[in-house]
Symmetry: C2
Subunit: 261 residues, 2 copies
């Protein structure tokens, strides 16, 4: 119920979470602990409002986020610069809000996202590292960089990624612009950086899983190119496990905040 | 019961664990999950022996280890080079054995340790990082490096660390040789490195907790020097929380393995 004269504002938050203890971002039917559920509960405690929370990306079970973006329209009178402390005081230790700004009422965290950056971490050591067990895929076997990079080069650009989309996700088009697919080495980790204007369901994990086959010599870069061109979902590698994946950043076009209320 | 002709060997393992889910290293009376308990159970499953497991350091609840060293005398016929795979197959995901070697029967992981290196991680950011929440102390406030380093310089050397030992731990002497106490910056972390020939109970955390007071301007380096000299336990800072601490490395003198059986 909107009160007469109540001023409503749209708040954009940048959120980090450890996906290990969550059944994904999106609120589930019953009993499952989700990031959305935890955030909405915190908002309710602060404002008494049941918020309509919109997120840039709905990450899967076990997938982490450093730069997830959400927006919420609220009538709360909490000043913008107090929101982080207020919200974090109501959040569990595995979710943190670390940035907030007021945005125009029409701003929509999902529709207006220009690009998303995911990172996938692979740990290359003979034995797992207990402190990173929930954040890196452990690969004790040898991974050849060159074939992975060659295969990656075939995937970059505006392409039809039907072969890399999990079945059962109805979307109008499976064409996406993969602007960046880099593989870098950092200490004992191999880090995959994927940036696209949008990701199909499990697309990031399917791409990494397929590139890992190239790294292990089980698929050639040319075979991976054919998978893409022939939209051959059956020949695509298995999705890499979720716990190596992290939504790092969501980019938006510059917004006009001159008339933000 | 030792069988006739049974050959017993002494195995030295290097172990890493995430202390978050453990009530410390040492086996407790009942019901508590401990690293020692989990390791002994794994040994029992593999060998049918109830091992007498000796560890270099008995870390507290919440404290991690990357390079904890244990030794076990066993009559098992598992070849040395198969032990890591065998042991890890019986260990939970938060403990991993990553190095093994056969050592002389008289080798004792605690008595023979020459020095131990602990690391304490402090995260300097306005908001906590969810992925490091169990591994770094979060310090959103400003920490001045110079006073911390100055105070640290007073603590290095062979000194009586009575002021930095928790009460109630009976030891013959409170003199220890603190060979190294460095504070380095790595990205958004401040890392304290402490190396000594031995650590009194909570000594590492008490030292870090006291240095943090210097970093926050709540104690001067000279005051900290007085705490040490006057063995004034009451004036020592509170112990830094356990989750930032990690036993990184245990060093031993070179051993003579020429007659290891």
């Amino acid at each position: 119920m909107k009160k007469d004269g109540e001023k409503r504002i749209n708040l954009k938050f940048t959120i980090a979470y450890d996906g290990t203890g969550f059944a994904g971002f999106q609120r589930q039917a019953a009993g499952e602990r989700t990031v959305q559920g935890v955030l909405e509960e915190a908002f309710y405690k602060l404002t008494g409002e049941y918020p309509r929370l919109i997120a840039a990306g709905r990450t899967d079970t076990g997938v982490h986020a450093y730069g997830q973006v959400i927006n919420v329209v609220t009538g709360s009178r909490i000043p913008v610069d107090r929101w982080l402390a207020a919200l974090n005081s109501k959040l569990p230790r595995d979710v943190v809000a670390w940035q907030v700004e007021q945005v125009p009422l029409e701003f929509h965290a999902r529709y207006h996202a220009k690009s998303k950056v995911y990172q996938y971490r692979v740990l290359r050591r003979p034995w797992p590292d207990v402190l990173r067990r929930n954040y890196c895929l452990h690969c004790p076997d040898e991974l050849a960089l060159e074939p992975m990079r060659k295969a990656a080069s075939y995937l970059v650009g505006r392409k039809d990624f039907a072969a890399f989309a999990a079945a059962g996700s109805p979307v109008k088009s499976t064409v996406r612009n993969l602007m960046r697919l880099e593989i870098t080495e950092k200490d004992d980790e191999l880090i995959f950086i994927l940036e696209a204007d949008g990701f199909l369901y499990k697309m990031a994990r399917n791409i990494v899983g397929t590139l890992l086959l190239a790294g292990r010599g089980k698929m050639t870069p040319e075979e991976i190119r054919l998978v893409l061109e022939e939209k051959n979902r059956a020949a695509c590698g298995p999705p890499a496990l979720p716990h190596g994946l992290c939504l790092v950043k969501v980019d938006y076009p510059p917004v006009d905040v001159s008339n933000k209320d």
